[in-house]
């Protein structure tokens, strides 16, 4: 077991950020941690990194208590923070050398590891440049390279693909897969559901400091497999309409985004006609109707009541 969290509690004054959370992550997993903003993901990650004190519970990493073996455990963890964490006034090579030294790498071994990390992220040719000259995608790759220089067994990636071009995203996704194939365990958080679906072997959905769903993608989608999702494109939307749709028999939830109404309903209730009637009654016009199969996004929406990008 790479990570074993038991009854973790973290409070910020009156706010209970993590509420008796228990979680196990196996070696070799790419573990997705999802949750809306304020769900407690960052607190869990910070607790695993030993960056914050905890108010209860226990964290074991590589079968050792984080409390007792923090320095030793940290030697085998790499962090890719959401915000780019590199020195703008050091070259890419110097950045990696600096962070490598923090992990006791010296001499030829340091040079070798720096070179490997830069080759891995495709930055070797531009190693002598300062990050301020890099594109957003290159900075993200350097951010990852800094976490890999000491070849950690556990890598925590917090939104590693935010705000980058598709080409860089693809490169990063492929890198994550390669790292995993090489034996690293990865904890991955993202707002991009398709990334999580593509990468993660297991996924935990957090809300209000607790894990509300945990399993493989298939296991999670089966949670809402008894539901239907209908997306209606409308000429105009008003909130009276949402209230009316929610009152239709079998409708479990109704969410409005722009000119779209997403309705989650119990399967085989035969209520689509009644929903369209509601639209007609509200003097709106139906532009499109789309029936969706259960997805991770749907699971998230169903369980948390919020879209992941809210």
């Amino acid at each position: 077991m790479t990570v074993r969290i038991t009854n973790l509690v973290k409070r910020y004054n009156e706010l209970l950020a993590v509420d008796h959370l228990t979680l196990n992550i196996d070696q070799g997993e790419i573990f997705g941690l999802l949750g809306p903003n304020g769900a407690g993901k960052t607190s869990v990650i910070n607790a695993i990194m030993g960056l914050i004190g905890i108010d209860g519970g226990e964290i074991k990493i590589f079968d050792k208590s984080l409390n007792d073996f923090e320095r030793e455990i940290k030697k085998s963890i790499g962090i890719v923070p959401q915000d780019i964490a590199v020195f703008e006034d050091l070259t890419a090579y110097e950045n990696l050398a600096f962070f490598g030294k923090l992990y006791q790498l010296r001499g030829d071994l340091l040079k070798k590891r720096v070179e490997e990390a830069l080759h891995f992220t495709g930055l070797w040719e531009r190693r002598k440049e300062f990050p301020k000259k890099y594109s957003g995608g290159m900075k993200r790759r350097l951010n990852i390279a800094c976490a890999l220089v000491h070849q950690p067994k556990l890598i925590i990636m917090d939104e590693p693909t935010v705000g980058i071009d598709p080409q860089s995203r693809k490169h990063i996704i492929e890198s994550v897969k390669t790292l995993n194939q090489k034996g690293s365990t990865i904890i991955y958080t993202s707002h991009y559901m398709e990334e999580v679906e593509e990468l993660c072997t297991r996924i935990a959905i957090m809300d209000h400091g607790r894990i509300i769903a945990l399993g493989t993608k298939e296991e999670l989608t089966s949670l809402i497999g008894l539901e239907e999702k209908v997306v209606l494109g409308l000429a105009s939307v008003n909130y009276t309409l949402v209230d009316k749709i929610k009152k239709v028999a079998g409708v479990k939830d109704c969410v409005v985004t722009d000119h779209q109404v997403t309705v989650i309903s119990e399967r085989d209730k035969g209520n689509l006609g009644r929903i369209i009637d509601c639209v007609s009654d509200s003097e709106s016009e139906v532009l499109s109707i789309h029936m969706e199969k259960p997805t991770l996004e749907g699971v998230f929406l169903t369980l948390t009541g919020r879209s992941l990008r809210d």
């Binding site: 050091l90 030294k101 992990y103 006791q104």
Partner: protein, 381 residues
């Protein structure tokens, strides 16, 4: 050895920050050049005008006549401007109006007293505001009294061959005095005050160094590494102190060899003061950052406080304020303490006093460190 890695990279990054570096070094160099040249006259030793002194002679005896002749000696008149008065009250009034620095009064029994072997006095009344000028008057009167005593001794010993001629007496001897190297010229003065100012501006390096660890994500990465907290902070502090100290040394050498500023003969003590101030400004920056818990606010406060400290310490313009409370308050300003220590060392040769001030700077640093430490613990909790 993470300690050295952190210090090395901190120094490297500070050196590469050419914009700040130029600002930190160019500002004092230009200020020294401009103020040192423009205000050179203001730092030249002043000319001493004649001291106005009231003179009241109530005695018509021979000795009083001799004293009056003495006062009218050409050399004495180069020093004193005699204002004859008719009464004690008139003299005192002139002193109170600050139109005279002293009143010399010869009582009516002065000559008789001397002749009969009794005590005879020349009274000197001086203004409480003119100590320096009063001392000139007293010295002139003392010179006459010494001569009179000598004459009396000669008379009592019946040494008829000994002659005493007031006109020949060399009571004032002209001795050339050079102020060179004894009081600061404008260039010397501003070299010191600007050194102190840039060392204090090092506070901003302290703010940035600390803020990076707490308010910027790179700090998260560092703290998630297996480095010990003390290695991290000590390495960073050493890097910042080294940066500020190097800048101080550069300014000392530049002002000495390019502007010819006088830094005295005890350079080690000057370096000790500059080093102490570098440590103080680093800790001051950290303290500001912890107390405000915001890099912008801490930088803004430092950017306001340091010019104010420099101004109140006379860093831009030398001034004296006759206010006890203000002068006491000035002793709490690091700039003032450091400037005093350096000036004492260069011009007063009072190295002991300089070391006392260095101890005060370190005490101040410790106080700031403990404030930062306590506030930091509360913040992190």
């Amino acid at each position: 050895m993470n300690f050295f890695s952190i210090a090395y990279y901190t120094i490297l990054r500070n050196i590469r920050d050419t914009k700040s570096l130029i600002q930190v070094l160019l500002l004092p160099i230009v200020t020294i050049l401009i103020l040192g040249t423009a205000l050179d006259g203001a730092f030249a030793p002043p000319n001493i005008s004649k001291t106005p002194v009231c003179y009241l002679n109530q005695d018509s005896g021979k000795t009083a006549e001799q004293f009056e002749a003495f006062l009218n000696d050409v050399k004495i008149r180069e020093l004193l401007k005699l204002v004859p008065v008719k009464s004690y009250e008139e003299g005192v009034a002139l002193i109170n109006d600050r139109r005279a620095s002293a009143l010399i009064m010869i009582p009516d029994d002065f000559s008789t007293g001397l002749e009969t072997g009794q005590k005879a006095r020349i009274h000197v009344y001086s203004s409480r505001y003119g100590n320096f000028r009063s001392s000139i008057v007293r010295n002139v009167v003392d010179s006459f009294i010494n001569r009179a005593n000598a004459m009396e001794a000669v008379y009592k010993m019946n040494l008829e061959d000994v002659r005493f001629d007031s006109a020949e007496a060399d009571v004032i001897r002209e001795m050339p005095i050079s102020t060179s190297g004894k009081i600061p010229r404008a260039m010397d003065y501003y070299a010191v005050t600007m050194l102190v100012m840039i060392a204090m501006y090092g506070t901003l390096y302290g703010v940035d160094g600390f803020a990076e660890d707490y308010f910027v994500s790179v700090g998260t990465r560092i703290k998630s590494s297996p480095i010990r907290a003390y290695e991290h902070y000590a390495g960073k502090a050493i890097g910042v102190v080294f940066t500020i100290f190097s800048q101080s040394i550069f300014l000392i050498l530049f002002s000495k060899y390019v502007f010819g500023a006088n830094w005295g003969n005890n350079m080690l003590t000057i370096l000790l003061i500059a080093f102490s101030l570098s440590v103080l400004s680093t800790v001051f920056g950290i303290m500001l950052c912890i107390l405000t818990w915001d890099q912008s606010s801490a930088s803004a406060i430092a950017n306001v406080l340091i010019p104010v400290f420099t101004l109140l310490s006379g860093g831009y313009m030398k001034f004296v304020i006759d206010n006890q409370a203000f002068n006491r308050l000035r002793h709490l300003i690091p700039n003032y303490l450091a400037q005093t220590a350096i000036f004492n060392n260069i011009y007063g040769s009072r190295t002991g006093q300089s070391y006392m001030i260095v101890a005060a700077i370190w005490a101040m640093t410790l106080v700031m460190f403990f404030i930062a430490f306590i506030a930091g613990r509360r913040r992190v909790q």
